[in-house]
Each structure stands twice: as C-alpha cells, then as structure tokens.
Subunit: 401 residues, 4 copies
Amino acid sequence: MDFAYGPGRNHLFVPGPTNIPEHVIRAMNRNNENHRTPAITTLTKTLLDDVKKIFKTTSGIPFLIPTTGTGAWESALTNTLSPGDRTVSFLIGQFSLLWIEQQKRLNFKVDVVESEWGQGADLDALESKLASDKTHTIKAICIVHNETTTGVTNDLTKVRKILDKYQHPALIIVDAVSSIGALDFRMDEWGVDVVVTSSQKALSLPTGMGIVCAGPKAIEATKSATSVRSFFDWNGYLKCYNLGTYWPYTPSIQLLYGLRAALDLVFEEGFENVILRHKRLAKATRLAVEAWGLKNCCQKEEWYSASVTAIVVPPNIDSGEIVSRAWKRYNLSLGGGLNKVAGKVFRIGHVGHLNELQLLGCLAGVEMTLKDVGYPVKLGSGVAAASAYLLNNVPLIPSRI
Amino acid sequence: MDFAYGPGRNHLFVPGPTNIPEHVIRAMNRNNENHRTPAITTLTKTLLDDVKKIFKTTSGIPFLIPTTGTGAWESALTNTLSPGDRTVSFLIGQFSLLWIEQQKRLNFKVDVVESEWGQGADLDALESKLASDKTHTIKAICIVHNETTTGVTNDLTKVRKILDKYQHPALIIVDAVSSIGALDFRMDEWGVDVVVTSSQKALSLPTGMGIVCAGPKAIEATKSATSVRSFFDWNGYLKCYNLGTYWPYTPSIQLLYGLRAALDLVFEEGFENVILRHKRLAKATRLAVEAWGLKNCCQKEEWYSASVTAIVVPPNIDSGEIVSRAWKRYNLSLGGGLNKVAGKVFRIGHVGHLNELQLLGCLAGVEMTLKDVGYPVKLGSGVAAASAYLLNNVPLIPSRI
Amino acid sequence: MDFAYGPGRNHLFVPGPTNIPEHVIRAMNRNNENHRTPAITTLTKTLLDDVKKIFKTTSGIPFLIPTTGTGAWESALTNTLSPGDRTVSFLIGQFSLLWIEQQKRLNFKVDVVESEWGQGADLDALESKLASDKTHTIKAICIVHNETTTGVTNDLTKVRKILDKYQHPALIIVDAVSSIGALDFRMDEWGVDVVVTSSQKALSLPTGMGIVCAGPKAIEATKSATSVRSFFDWNGYLKCYNLGTYWPYTPSIQLLYGLRAALDLVFEEGFENVILRHKRLAKATRLAVEAWGLKNCCQKEEWYSASVTAIVVPPNIDSGEIVSRAWKRYNLSLGGGLNKVAGKVFRIGHVGHLNELQLLGCLAGVEMTLKDVGYPVKLGSGVAAASAYLLNNVPLIPSRI
Amino acid sequence: MDFAYGPGRNHLFVPGPTNIPEHVIRAMNRNNENHRTPAITTLTKTLLDDVKKIFKTTSGIPFLIPTTGTGAWESALTNTLSPGDRTVSFLIGQFSLLWIEQQKRLNFKVDVVESEWGQGADLDALESKLASDKTHTIKAICIVHNETTTGVTNDLTKVRKILDKYQHPALIIVDAVSSIGALDFRMDEWGVDVVVTSSQKALSLPTGMGIVCAGPKAIEATKSATSVRSFFDWNGYLKCYNLGTYWPYTPSIQLLYGLRAALDLVFEEGFENVILRHKRLAKATRLAVEAWGLKNCCQKEEWYSASVTAIVVPPNIDSGEIVSRAWKRYNLSLGGGLNKVAGKVFRIGHVGHLNELQLLGCLAGVEMTLKDVGYPVKLGSGVAAASAYLLNNVPLIPSRI
C-alpha cells in the first residue's frame, strides 16, 4: 500500500510536511470521539491557551481551523479586510506569490513589492509607500516571515518600526507557516496583528490544521470587514468560544490530541531550546553548503532561515534531478526549486522534530546525490564542516545527564 | 490525556464522527511523506478513481478537499453560482438551516422552503416554484439528502423528475454528508450536479476531508460562476489534475492512506452489502424505538433514514439529560437534539463501520438511560424487538463461511 | 491481512486474550529501543514496584518473564522444587489438568485431588493429606485460583488456614492467570508463596509476559531447589536486580510500555473499582444465564468466578456450534468447552477492560446465537435481567461527574 | 512516559533490538483476537510456510515460541539431547559463553573450544575431537553463527565438511540469532540440524518470539532425548500442527501479524537483496572504521560479520564512555563491549531494516563521539570512506525506477 517501498526509513527533509515524532503519532492513534463532550471542550481549552505560547502572545486569539496554510491565509485576509482594500505585499518567492494571487482573487488592490528571489522584503519600498500614504489607504501589510522557496526570513521588527514611524494604522498580516514553532516569533512584542501557520511544519503534525492568531486590532477589524466569508469566518468561532462549545463545526479529534502531544514535546524540550536547535541545524547546513562549494540562494546573512536552506546548483545541473535521484536511490526527500528557481535550487528543510544525526545523514545523502548528478563534491566535506560546528554546539540531552 | 477516562470502550453512536475501523487507524498510523513524490501521485489517482464508485458516478469529478462538510458546502456553492443567484433550499432541520445561512452569507437569494422538522423537503412547493419560473431565474436547488437532525432522507429522484418535467436547467446541489457510503446514492442516474460529503461519516475516517463530486454541468458552471473563491476553487484542482500533480496545496498524507483503507473495506464487504447493513441496523433501531413506546421524529416511512434515527422523548423529559447521562454513566455517546428539537429528541447514529451487537449494546444502554431519566421503559424490550428482526436478516460473514 | 474480515468491531469475550484498551495499544505503538539504557532501567523499576500492588504484596518479588502462562507455571515450579518433590494439586478443569501434567513432566510426585468439573478444589482432601503428612513430605500445594474452564474460583484463605492449622511448611503456589488484576488477590495477607499470572488476561495486554511473584519463603526455597532451569531461573533476574540492570535477556520494550499504561489505567480507575466492576459484570452475566433458563457450570455461589462464566447447554445442543456460529454470524468471540466439558459448555469471559454496554451487546449476541442453534430462548430476556441489575449498580464514571 | 526524551529520532544501532519498520508497527497496532479462530490458524499456516524461506529449508520444521533467544537455545538443546550428553561448543564471545553456561546448567558435558575473542571458532580443534571420537560420544556441535560480541561470523560449511569427513552423526545446533534474515543461511544445503533465531534482530520485530527450525534428524532425536522440558517441548507444537490448531498455548496475536508484515517486506525487497544490503552496510562500516584509524575486533576478513561490527578503541579510551556519550548527546544507541572486551570495544549494529543514510548518520555520530572522548579522529573521514564505497554500490530502489 506504500506504492514505493524502500528499505529503511524515509529521510524526510522537505520543508514540510515534516517528520512526526512517535509521541505524536501515538497520540493520534485513536478512534473518533463525539466532539460535543466535556472532554473535548477541556482539551480544546488547553490547546487554545498553550498554542499562544509559541506565538508569544497573550492578547491574541487563536483559531484552529480544519484547513491548510492556503485556507489559513484566506481566513486572515477575509476576516480583516474588505473588497477593494489596498494591501502592500512582498513578492520574494513562490509562497509570497501564491499569497499575492490569492489577495488579488479576493479582490484586494495589491501593491506588489518585488525583490529578486533570494532577497528579503524590500522595506525601503514599504517605507516610501507608507510615507506617501497620508490618507491611510493602505489597510494591511502582508508579509511572509519565512519564504520557504528561497530560505529567506524577513525581520518583522523593522516592519513594525516603519509603521510606527509613520503612525500608520495598517494591519500587519504575517504568513508564518514555516516559522511558528521553529523560529523566535514575538507576536505581541513585534505588534503583529494576524499570524498564520499550519500543522505540518514546525509543529510536526499531519497536514489539516491551519492556525491563525489574531490580535485585538485584527479582531476589531472583523467588525467592518465586508469580505464574504463563511467557513473561514472568525465570528463563528468567537461565538462558540463565548458559549464554551468552541467548535462551529467538527474538528479532527486526532489533530487535537496530536497538537496536545506536539505542544507537550515543545514545552518538555523548552521552547527556547527548540528555537536554538533550529538555528543550530540551519547553521550546520549552511556550513556544509559552503564546504561543497555551492551558494545559498538566500543572499545575505541577515535573512538566513533557520527552517530551510535553498541551495543554488551550478548552471549545468538540473536541481530537479537531484531531488528525483535522492528519492529514488537514497530514500531521501529533498525540496525542489519552484517557479523562477525551478531547476536552479534544491532545498533542505531542517524544520520540525529533527536532531543532528538525522541532518548529517541527510547531508551525506546530498553529497552522494551531487556526485550522482555530476557535481564534483568532495565526499564527506559537508558532513565534516557541519560536524565540526555541531561538535562544539550540541548540548547534552537534559533528561539524560 | 483523555480528560474523561472510563473503563472499556466508548460506544460511539453520534451520527458522526463515527467509529474508525482498526484497519483504517492502522493505515493512518504513519509519518508524513513528501506529497510531491510519484508514490502519493499514484495513491491519489487510485482514490479519485475509486471514490467515484460510492457516488455511483462515472462522469463526475471528485475533489478531496482538506476541510469539513461546512467547507465542502461552500466549495459546491461558490464554484457554481454567482452572487445574487437565486437558489431554492429546503429547511427541514439544523443542517439544512446552517447551509441556508451559508447560502445567504455568500450572497445568494435563497427561496427557503420550510417543512415541519420531522418531514422531508416540500417538493410540491418546489414544483410550483419551478412551474412559475419560466425565465429560469432559479439557478440551483440545494437539498440535504439525509437531514441528520431529524433522521429524514429525501427522495432525490423526485427532485430530478420535477426539474425534468419543467425542463428546468437549475443545478441540483446535494448535501450528502451523512449518506454517501451508507445509503444508495446514484449521482449519474439521478442527475445530481454536485454532491458533498465528508470523511468522518459513513467513510469512518477522522474529520478533515470534504469530498465534493461535480458533474459535467457543474464543471461547466464554474466558467461563469463569479463567486469569490480561492481555497475552495475547483480550478486549482483541475489544473493540477491536468498536470498530474493533483494537489494545489498540501493534503493530509494520513487521510489519503486512510481513505484508501476505508474504500478497500467497502469493496471487500461489497458496497451493496454496506448499504444493506445500514438499512438493517436502521430498521432494528426503529423497531426498538417502537417497543419502547417512543416516536420517531421522522414522520413518514418514506423518509426514514438508514444512517440516523431521531427519537422524540415525552414532554416531561429533557433529551439533553439522556445524552449527558448516557455518556457519564455508560460511556455511550448519543446525539442530542438541535435547535427546534433541542431537549425534545435524542439521536442514535447507526452510520459507518458498525455491526449488530454494537447496536444492541447501544440499545441496551439507551434503555437503562431512559430508566435513569424517569421514562418507564421495559428493560430488554427494544433489544428484543431489534434482535427478533436481526435474527432473520443478518447474513453470515462471507469470509467466515 | 485479517483473513476473516467482518464489518464493525470484533466482540471479544473469550477469557483471554482480552480486549486491549486504546491507551495501551497507543503506548505500545513504538519502535524498539536499546534495553540497556537508563530509560528502560527507570521504567522497569516503576513496573516492578507497581505490579506488586495488584498482587497486594510488599514482600513479594515480581519477575516479568518473556513467556506465556505455561512458562510462568514452569518458572514457579522449577525455582522452588526439586525432582521427586511431592505436590498436592487440584484437578478441577482443563488448566489445572495441564498444570498437573506439567508437574508430572517436571518429575514431581503429584497427589492429584480431583473434583467434578464445576466444583472448587476439594479442601477436605487437602486437610486429610496434611493431617497425615507429619514428616512434611508435601512440598507444595498447587492450586488454580480461578479455573477458566468452568468459571470456578477457589477460596485461598481456606488453604492458608488448613496449612496453618497443621503448621505445615508446604509452599502455596497459585495459578492466578485469569484472576490477578480482576479479582481481589491478597498475596501477603493470604500467605501465598508464589503467584503466577500473564499479560493477556486482566491486564489487557498482548500475550507474551508471564508475571511471577515470589514471596520470601519461595525465594528461600530457590536455594535448595534442584530442578534444572535456565531460561526460567529466578537467580538470573535477582542478579540483575542487584546490579540494577534488571534484565538477564532482552525484554519486549513494547510490553514494558504497555504494562506501564495498563497499570496506570488500573490506578486511574482505582484498583478496588476494577475489582467491583468485574464482580458487577459477572453478576449481570449470571442473571442473564438464569433468565435464559441455562445452568452455570460452576455449581455453587461460593465458587462463582468474576472473570468468566461457563454455561451448560442442553444435551441436544453442541456448545461448539454456539461458539462457531457466534463468530461466523455476529463477530462475537466466545470461549468453547474444553476436554470433559467440550460440547457441553460455552464460556463468556468478562475479564479485562470492559464495560456494561459491551457485555450487554455480547449477551444480546448470545441470545441470537442460542436461537440460531435451536435453543428456545426468549430474546431480550438475558439483557433485561442483566440490565435490571446493572441499572442499580453501575456508578457514574468519576471523571465525568 | 519515555523517561529520557530527546528531540528527533533515536538512532538505534545496537545489534538488536533493531529498528521496526513502520509497516510492521502498523501491522501490530491492533486489539487482541481469539487465537482459536480459523483466521489465526490460516495466518499461522502462512507464517510456518514462509519463515522456512529465510532459513532456506524445505525439510525443517519451524517453531514460533513465545520467548527470547535464550529460551530458544534451551528449546533447541532440551528437545534433542539428554542429560550427560557430550557437546562441543565454541567459546568466542559473550553469547557463546552464555550458551555454554546454559548447556552446563542443563547438565550436558560440554567440550569448550575457546578462541581469542575476535577470532572464529577453532575448527581444527573440532576436527581433532571428531577424529578421536570413534564411538560417537559427541552428540552435538553447538556453534554461534554470528557472534554479536565481536562481529565474527563462522563458516558453517566447514563444520559440515568436517563432520562428513569423519561420518560423524553429531547434530549441528546453530545459534543464528543475529544472522537469520540478514546473512545468507542455508539450513538444508549446509546440513544444519537445529537453527535458533529471535524476532528482535534481522526480522525487525519486538522481542518476544524465539524461532527454532528443526531438521529431520533433530526431530528424530526428540524421541530419545530425555532432557526435562515442558514449555519448550516441541511435541506440544507437533501435536497441534497435526491437529491443525497450531498453538499449544496462547501466542502473541500482534507478533503473528508483525511477522507476517516483516516477511512480506523481506519478499518485497527480495531476500537476496536484503542479504546484499547487509553486506553493503557492513562493508561501508568497516571502511569507516579503517578511515578512523581504528581496528576491527574481528581479526580476519573471512569472519567479518554483515550484521555487526565491533570496533577496538585505543587503550586510553573507555568504550563505555563512547556508548554513554553517544546516547546522552546525540541520541545514538551503540552497542557496548561485553565481558572480556568491556571497555575495549564498542559495536555498530547494522542489522535489520536500515538504509545507507541511516548508517551514514550513525557514522557521523560516532565520529563526533570519538572526538568527545578524546580520540583524534578526522571529522567526516569515516563518512567519506563509506560514502565512496556506497556511491558505487547502492542500487536504485526498484519500485521507484
């Protein structure tokens, strides 16, 4: 029934869906339940409380929506904006592109601010737009925190500063799909109004839960937002929150228990340790890339992503061949290049429930795959560079000391 | 972590989410995978082919959407209709009501045809509306096949006949959430244009997959439908179907394997046998209700539902007490009364992967619960009535003969 | 892969293997681990401590042996006795017979004290044997606490009293395979020297762990016991206990975690509540049997078993047909008659993680099966009798009040 | 509940228990069943047929015993030999030592033929013993095929040749615990009489099933073997095989389904491919060891084991520190040194369901651990050496071509 059986484990290094820890698989290994019992109500309450911690918000209200990241985007937009509203959106990769296309389909007027793929959002352009927008026609700044296509992370504190500088009331709506739970994200401190993530990334769950967290300004905006919405409407949730029933429609019982287990693991490891672990694996990956003589698609250190690294291949090599070969020969799942960078980059996702030796196995597999496709890498070079760094930076596992 | 532990198994008799067979739980007990591999593509293809069989369609195109029934409704409507379009919708219970509310929110003009709760759709009213709609202002007939609130199943062949009689081009859009996979449903033969179901009902999966099947007229309608849609847009799927990539965004790997297992079980049992089993359990339930001296909320035999029976309690009894008591004392999950019938009916869901002794255990539990809340039922009476019928109608399990 | 698929759940009412709770299935759903880590050592320590609670012993030492009940028997005997040693053994059913055969094969001289099957151990015979055994040639009394063949439970306090009366030093070695974890068993208070149980009975685990608990006198006896033993030798365990390594050979990691979960469930429910639940289900079963006009194989109330009821069928009926029919038509697994009572009794196991409605479903199935094989039972009669009793005796589930 | 949680997967490289594939974990994720149904009988029959294929025997009879390897040893010995019988046994490591101790405890007269640990069995000594044993006092040659302590594999064809040369009727009894399913083993061709393995090694199952395969001469020997045996007695099995009931006592339902899945995987991959994969991973490991400047405990190439490599550490390093450190810092489980080689060797198990990148991750972890404990390894050197070999020898995954 697997259609493509291979011996040993699949080495899953796409930037989502990510590896599900055994604890979470176990927690989800269960029959359905009636979602209208006090048990599920109690469980839901703990989830709504605890999920806020990984957004670092106390004032935000989370919605656990049975959808994907794409649906969560739609939820963020339609609940806070009205058709014809002007947004500023940064095009820096495939996911920001798709989000911009969605914004257009939902009838917002989108000021697209494009950067070369591999660069972060052009915040100078934002500044000039805001500077000239005396009448506050711009209603929202839509920005991807971590662009999975290129491995670029934007600095959201700068966005906040620019808005503050011009006392501009636009909402900040953030796609944090591949960052929440992996990268430091401070919704309250940074003044982000809506944050969107989904279950199959750093939370290491199956796909199927879009998590949207809305701050007070965003909740206020729902009152005047006239975008048509039904399934994604927050008011349905808010009514149920008030009633203590929590669910406007049937949630996945399994994902609720799974999220409970996933959060428990985060807190057991310590959320700050989780963030450090992601930084560490990312740094190790970049050192390997350097050792291989390849270039990071992300052009500057300030944008380096802790959840995914996109690697530029030489012009004579098709990165799609790397992805295909890795899967067919080494049971290694890498991310391919998308759209503008199709054929030009491949990606190593180092997000979710991973450790050092898993990454080093992946890096060894990339080395062999590079050889396979004709790139003259020195075998062991990336692993050596990554190991040298990790050797000095991996802590002992606290529960085993 | 269960928040409400009780010894032994939970007896799950709400009309969804339903019991997940061990086979399906097993099939879903797995790590994530990259959804962009040939393995998932091949798997998806088998699912799209095989799921059509339970809709009994060859011309329909199925969409397996990461959402719930509510989202699947929205998908059916926004892909085929434009704001301001006139629909005829039958209000016969809570789910038809919620769907009508959605239709209104999505800016359709809804002709609501209400019946007393416990009755089927008023098709005479439909006939007069169609008779007088010479200019074909009515764009869609929206009808719930099986109203889960009241245990009422509408006869869709009659809807088709009326439309044909007046050669009316309106689409027939059907909520078959609690019927597909349990009841005989013949999309092609009945001339239904869009059918909506979801995973946690007869398919016995977790919540999280809305399945929409669209016939050729519905696909054609997408071209002119101007309702705003993004996440739910069928074109995103159709493009991917043509490309052979199948998924416009990340699906739940687990639900795909789960659906594969669920369909395999249906075919192993034989789909017609599954339908007969649902009829048999429903009939046994009704006989028990009769023996208890209680009334079926569904007022006529022609509307009796094979997936759920709603039972009217005497005026001095609060049906909510029955539901609460059954769960608290007997680990039995029954459906409560909703909206107009809140406090007045409770519901036994007999949909999904169930057998006779599971149902008889449930009926015995209902009997004790009825006693608990003061209704003078004769213990064993319902079980006896149901058993007497089952004794003559349960076949031997084919694989064990 | 199930070879005998049937819709809905299997109703498992053999007196072992018993139903595994979802919690325990989940806990066992895991990869192997190195059994030589501190993690497994810590886990093992908690198990050895906690398992004593269900034996109600503080002075006993438990051994968790990778074997079945048959192997656990052998372990109890060979560690405490020497070839040629005289034992008194009670033959009251198939399992006591098999144990006696084992004792003979292991070269003990067995005084077999036989009772009619359906009666308890003949303790008068024991008394006379002890009375005349002035020189203490009898080294051990071997007695089955709960004879699963006939649903007979022996009163072990009487055995102790008789030994005390004659100040006889013989060991009391008890097969408590189908009682530990279900029935009240007080190893210390009753002065039992060795107790044997196994995982697939009241503990609701898979087969594969034989649990032997040895009191101080039994441990002392190992020093002089010359029976040849290797795999089953307690000294191997005791050495490892002293070293803190715990395992003389590789244990099943999965069963260790499973036992942890199973014990956690026992303590969550409250062990005394577990015992009461078993009594309650047994009583309800007997009331059903009476209502059906059938006889309990167990001849006197003092011997009634709380874990299994053996039911005598009329002479014209083959109980094997009942077992076969129940499985083939109703997916109901009943216990058959063994040896002397083959064809004459069938058995309902009500041991392990079960609740009232599960039992009532089983009873309803037995009623239909009885009809199937030509016994003129009144349908619903057994369920009614059992329900009437349960109605007055089932407590609310504490966590749901 | 894991007592020692660490992020990411545990890297399990002890030579057993080994990694369980997801397929097998899924297959075992199930409730108990009555083991006395035709379903389990049918399943068992397929297992007994198919398990013979990995022993490469058609004339052997397999026994699937609920025990560990230690119990399986005992079963092999007590069913074929009588107290006082003379055996020749080779002491080449801890497991052969433990087996010899067992042979002594079971009252056989053991001619111990010791070799330096790191060498194979001294077959010259065997030859001289047989040459001088004109009266055939030697009843059995007991030999460990693959000594897990030292990573030494004995050539059994040579044993057969020596026996044949002297036309000596002694039985060949082989501990193949860490070889069956991983190494080429030809029971019939090599004339081996009894072979012993267990579930948690190459078969990649949980511990709990000892598998013994007995050839015709061994079955014949049971008739005269007077060793006391009960639980391990083959006659109990043989009687049940004849009756078609198969089980003298309750088997683990889960392990039966697990074995079915494990065998299915072996046949899907192709057993010869499984053997080649083990050889490949072993060779890669040895190349890494060489690159690290360390010595293989196994002294000659003819004895190199394909399932485990024991690595000698420099005198100033304690191999126990390596094992401890790897687990505490890198979540890597390595095998330690046992008895004579305690502190002197550590072991990499490369047996079971593993692939190349898993091994390379392990090797990278070993490199860092070596650095941690003060050995001046060049990071990446072992990975490079192993990769260079694998690059030229790993086939494409057949189902993915």
